[in-house]
């Protein structure tokens, strides 16, 4: 597991990104990976498969729901959709993430923050 990229993410980050992607539009696993990689300009090298345990966790906690169907390219796909509970969860996560990020920034740049 030399390049397990998700290990470098903090816990919950992947789920947060999945939820954020799904908020924009429902998608299947492959599309989600594409989306995350594109949006991060390939800065986050997410191992494609690591998406699936995260998706299972979200399914189990009912933050997303899934349905089999056909994609626009006529492939059989399982499309994920965010639930209302998922939306709420995402908002909480984002705000706490922002606060944490702010805190970290303050610590890393003490001079800027006090002035």
């Amino acid at each position: 597991m030399a390049n397990n990229a998700s290990r470098d993410l903090f816990p919950g980050a992947l789920e947060m990104m999945i939820l954020e992607s799904l908020r924009r539009q429902p998608a299947h696993g492959y599309a989600l990976v594409q989306h995350i990689q594109q949006r991060s300009k390939n800065m986050l090298q997410v191992e494609e498969g690591s998406l699936y345990p995260a998706l299972q966790r979200l399914l189990k906690t009912k933050l997303v729901k899934a349905e089999w169907g056909l994609s626009s390219t006529n492939r059989r796909v399982r499309t994920y959709q965010i639930t209302p509970a998922g939306l709420r969860h995402l908002e909480q996560q984002i705000s706490s993430f922002e606060r944490m990020f702010e805190g970290i920034t303050l610590v890393l740049n003490p001079g800027k923050a006090t002035n």
């Binding site: 597991m1 492959y30 494609e48 498969g49 699936y52 299972q56 189990k60 089999w68 059989r76 399982r78």
Partner: protein, 876 residues
């Protein structure tokens, strides 16, 4: 519990996932091919990009594996460890709950046996007995029964039975047995089939004394005929009349009257062998009950209408005997409402009480758990601060309470099963074939388990409130601080109520115990020490007419020759015995001898000359009888003080005076004896006359023997002496004290149940006070530590820690004592000489409550005194 459906959906979920992953790689490969890569290379790259599929799949599976189950098991292990760490707490909690659950299981089981569980006959919910609306009883005369049986259109068949005692002779050992005299159609109407041989049927009846057949009950066949299949066809003698054993009733069939266990069944038409009642007398309602199954399609209301139209007809045809008769239908198992209603009311009361006990136990356990949670508030706060969810912590707490409730329920159930099994084999009154079949069944187990779990949730929930309020920040900053308001909390009010109820129970049980103890040493009007009663019903050996007094005199003389016998008397019945006769008596100048003119309704005993000496009844004035007071001599009587007061104004006036019996016979009073107790211990003074047995003969005979030592030592000699005189005469020997079992049954039961309730109340109060004291000590531990550090004395520390608990205890006890004294007046109706105005009782209550307080506060007090301020302050 959302994981339960997940378990069943797991295969589907995993298949979906596998398929999804495969499709993902396919899509990636297709993309790469579209970008111009070879199929092989694209496949390889797609797999690399995806990562280790096996591991990823496994990690996805883990999401769905029974995490709840696993973490629940972890919770259980942690809870067990926590409970083991505080054995005092754990044992107290389990014991409290065991008592409460046990009490409920016992009460429910009794209720189940008496009311819920149906009679052990087919189609029992459709079996009804005919009850009289006016008197609530179910007695019928034989002619009325025949009319009801033959003229109704509602019953499949109407059976009848009567209960009596008989002398059974199977060879050389005559014994007394309880028999059910059953109508010929009895077994067929009940739709039961014999275990062995056959039953008797309606076709066997051809008028009085025509069907000499007997059916043994299964239990009697096992215990007295040793499971011998060869008994069918054997001839036995009942009251000296030959009967052929034709069958054995099925196991578990004990007639249709609950509690009563007959030994054998004989046809009703043979009744003249066992009693003096007439088949043709419409006024003599000697049949115990008539009953049957309603026809299919006939409602209860229709059937009542039907039998009442017969009743109206009977009332018209026989106005002297059946005037104003109306019937209703009632359950036969508890003799309709006559026995059923008091039993139902009593059991409902008990059920309510035991429910209250359980609630109180839950409340107490709740405060125990709350105290525990308060002790651990720091731990809880720390866990909350470290990100543990409240749900998780609550689950841990609930696991503890559920474990305690399961353990408590198990112990309680085991105890109650033991108790119930004991009760089921217990014969409360040795003379009578009464047995309480209260064996627990699946229903009882289910109820106990359910109650235990519900209580676990209930008392666990008390601690929950506390955890939900915990603010980790505050707790860590200040410690579990102490709000010590003056306001009484709900919990405290509950506790005071409990203490008060406990004090009431302790008071009344002490009153009952004292009353019972005193009544055992009381003046019954006879002596119980060194006295034996020997029941010899001469009717059971077919004595009649002149042979009766001759045999009675011979028996008295024979027993007098036995060494160790001081005196022998004989009576038809004895005071506080199984039965007694009464008769109207009139003053000598009364001319119109109708019941309304009677001076008294006197209890009558026919006794032999030596009776008073043998039974220890003190003759106050005059003389006892002699054998010269014979049939041809002038009628004489010995009366008690109350009789003398009723008829002659005062005992002093009575000697030598005359009174009249209802037939106009003038009887002279030749002696006066002390007043005594004749049918119950709590009765008001009863007028009693003793008549010479020669002048008013009776086949029913009880010999009273006074011995000069342990009377039971004489039993064997007496038995063999009587056996020599008539080997076919059943003899029943018991001490005079033992014979009081039936009259002491009520007071004893009242005392025992009050005692049990008192102990339970005390246990609950102890856990209640303990819980509250422990709680207040642990909340104020820091404050106490500071006080000690500042030099507070032990007394002051204790006052601060336990003052409130002690005050509540004192308040509750005083209230309970006052209520208990008031309640004990009611008790005096059941227990003779029960009075709360007894210094010993009052001192006992105070002592008991003080002891209770001491026990309950001992551990918290030790803890409060043992506070080490240094350790405490360092911890903070």
């Amino acid at each position: 519990m959302a994981w339960i459906p997940d378990i069943f959906r797991r295969r589907e979920i995993l298949n979906d996932l596998s398929e999804e992953m495969r499709l993902h790689m396919e899509e990636r490969a297709a993309q790469l091919i579209a970008e111009g890569m070879s199929a092989e290379e694209a496949d390889r790259r797609a797999r690399i990009a995806f990562g280790n599929r096996a591991i990823l799949e496994e990690r996805s599976h883990e999401v769905w594996q029974w995490p709840t189950m696993e973490s629940a098991w972890a919770d259980v292990r942690v809870a067990l460890r926590q409970l083991r760490r505080t054995p005092g707490f754990t044992v107290t909690a389990i014991f409290t709950l065991a008592l409460a659950i046990g009490a409920n299981a016992v009460v429910f089981s009794v209720m189940n046996a008496f009311i819920i569980r149906p009679l052990n006959v087919p189609d029992s919910q459709n079996l009804y007995g005919i009850a009289r609306t006016a008197s609530n009883d179910m007695g019928q005369s034989y002619p009325d029964y025949l009319d009801l049986r033959d003229r109704n259109h509602s019953f499949d068949d109407l059976a009848a039975y009567n209960i009596t005692e008989a002398g059974l002779d199977t060879g050389n050992n005559p014994t007394r047995v309880w028999i059910e005299e059953a109508s010929g159609n009895y077994f067929d109407a009940l739709k039961i089939h014999p275990y062995l041989g056959r039953f008797f049927h309606a076709a066997d009846e051809h008028g009085p004394e025509s069907a000499p057949y007997a059916v043994l009950s299964y239990a009697y066949w096992r215990s007295h005929f040793h499971n011998d299949g060869g008994v069918i066809g054997r001839v036995i003698r009942l009251n000296k009349h030959s009967f052929t054993i034709v069958g054995v009733a099925p196991q578990g069939f004990n007639g249709t009257l609950m509690v009563f266990i007959p030994d054998l069944f004989v046809p009703l038409v043979d009744h003249t062998f066992f009693g003096t009642d007439e088949f043709t007398d419409r006024s003599d309602r000697w049949l115990f009950m008539a009953m049957g199954h309603l026809k299919t399609g006939v409602t209860k209301a229709q059937a009542i209408g039907d039998i009442n139209s017969i009743a109206a007809d009977l009332a018209k045809t026989y106005p002297k005997d059946d005037a104003k008769t109306t019937f209703t239908l009632a359950q036969p198992s508890l003799y309709g409402d006559y026995v059923g209603r008091p039993i139902r009311e009593f059991l409902t009361g008990l059920l309510l009480l035991s429910g209250l006990i359980l609630l109180a136990a839950c409340a107490n356990l709740g405060s125990l758990f709350a105290a525990r949670a308060a002790d651990r508030s720091k731990e809880v706060a720390l866990r909350l601060a470290l990100g543990s969810s409240r749900k998780r912590i609550l689950r841990a707490l609930f696991t503890e309470s559920i474990l305690v409730s399961i353990a408590g329920g198990g112990v309680g159930l085991a105890g109650s099963v033991a108790l119930l099994n004991g009760l089921s084999t217990w014969r409360p009154i040795s003379r009578w074939p009464l047995q309480l079949n209260v064996n627990p069944d699946a229903r009882v187990y289910a109820v106990a388990v359910l109650l235990a779990l519900v209580s676990g949730f209930l008392f666990g929930a008390v601690a929950v409130k506390q955890v939900l309020r915990t603010n980790p920040y505050e707790v860590i900053k200040t410690g579990a601080g102490g709000r010590t308001g003056k306001r009484l909390t709900t919990r405290e009010i509950l506790l005071v109520t409990q203490i008060a109820i406990c004090a009431v129970l302790v008071t009344s049980s002490l009153v009952a115990i004292r009353g019972l103890a005193r009544s055992l040493h009381d003046d019954f009007g006879f002596d119980v020490q060194n006295r034996l009663l020997i029941g010899v019903d001469l009717g059971m050996a077919a004595y009649s007419g002149d042979r009766v007094p001759i045999m009675q005199k011979r028996m008295i003389e024979a027993l007098q020759t036995i060494p160790g016998v001081e005196a022998v008397g004989l009576a038809d019945n004895v005071p506080l015995g199984d039965s007694s006769n009464d008769a109207n008596v009139f003053t000598d100048d009364t001319q119109n001898l109708t019941a309304s003119k009677a001076a008294a309704d006197a209890t009558v005993f026919s006794v032999s000359p030596e009776y008073f000496r043998a039974s220890g009844t003190i003759l106050k004035q005059g003389r006892s009888f002699t054998w010269q007071d014979s049939k041809d001599a002038p009628p004489v009587a010995v009366v008690n003080g109350e009789f003398a007061r009723k008829l002659f104004g005062a005992p002093a006036n009575a000697m030598g005076r005359y009174f009249k019996e209802h037939d106009g016979k003038r009887v002279q009073v030749v002696g006066i004896v002390e007043d005594g107790k004749y049918s119950t211990l709590t009765e008001d003074p009863v007028p009693v006359m003793f008549l010479p047995i020669v002048q008013s003969p009776s086949v029913s005979s009880v010999l009273v023997v006074q011995s000069n030592g342990d009377p039971l030592r004489l039993a064997a000699a007496i038995r063999s002496k009587l056996h020599d005189m008539d080997s076919g005469l059943p003899v029943y020997i018991q001490t005079r004290l033992k014979s009081l079992d039936s009259v002491l049954f009520g007071p004893r039961m009242a005392t025992i149940s009050l005692g049990v309730l008192g102990i339970m109340g005390a246990m609950l109060s102890i856990t209640g006070i303990f819980g509250m004291a422990a709680y207040s000590v642990s909340r104020r531990l820091r404050e106490l530590g500071i006080r000690i550090a500042l030099g507070a004395k032990r007394k002051e520390v204790l006052q601060a820690a336990l003052g409130r608990a002690i005050r509540l205890l004192a308040f509750g006890s005083v209230a309970g004592l006052i209520l208990g004294v008031l309640a004990s007046r009611v008790l005096s109706f059941v227990v003779y000489e029960a009075t709360p105005r007894d210094p010993l009782v009052l001192a006992g209550v105070v002592l008991a409550m003080a002891l209770l307080g001491l026990v309950a506060t001992w551990i918290p007090a030790q803890r409060a005194l043992g506070v080490n301020p240094l350790v405490l302050l360092r911890e903070d």
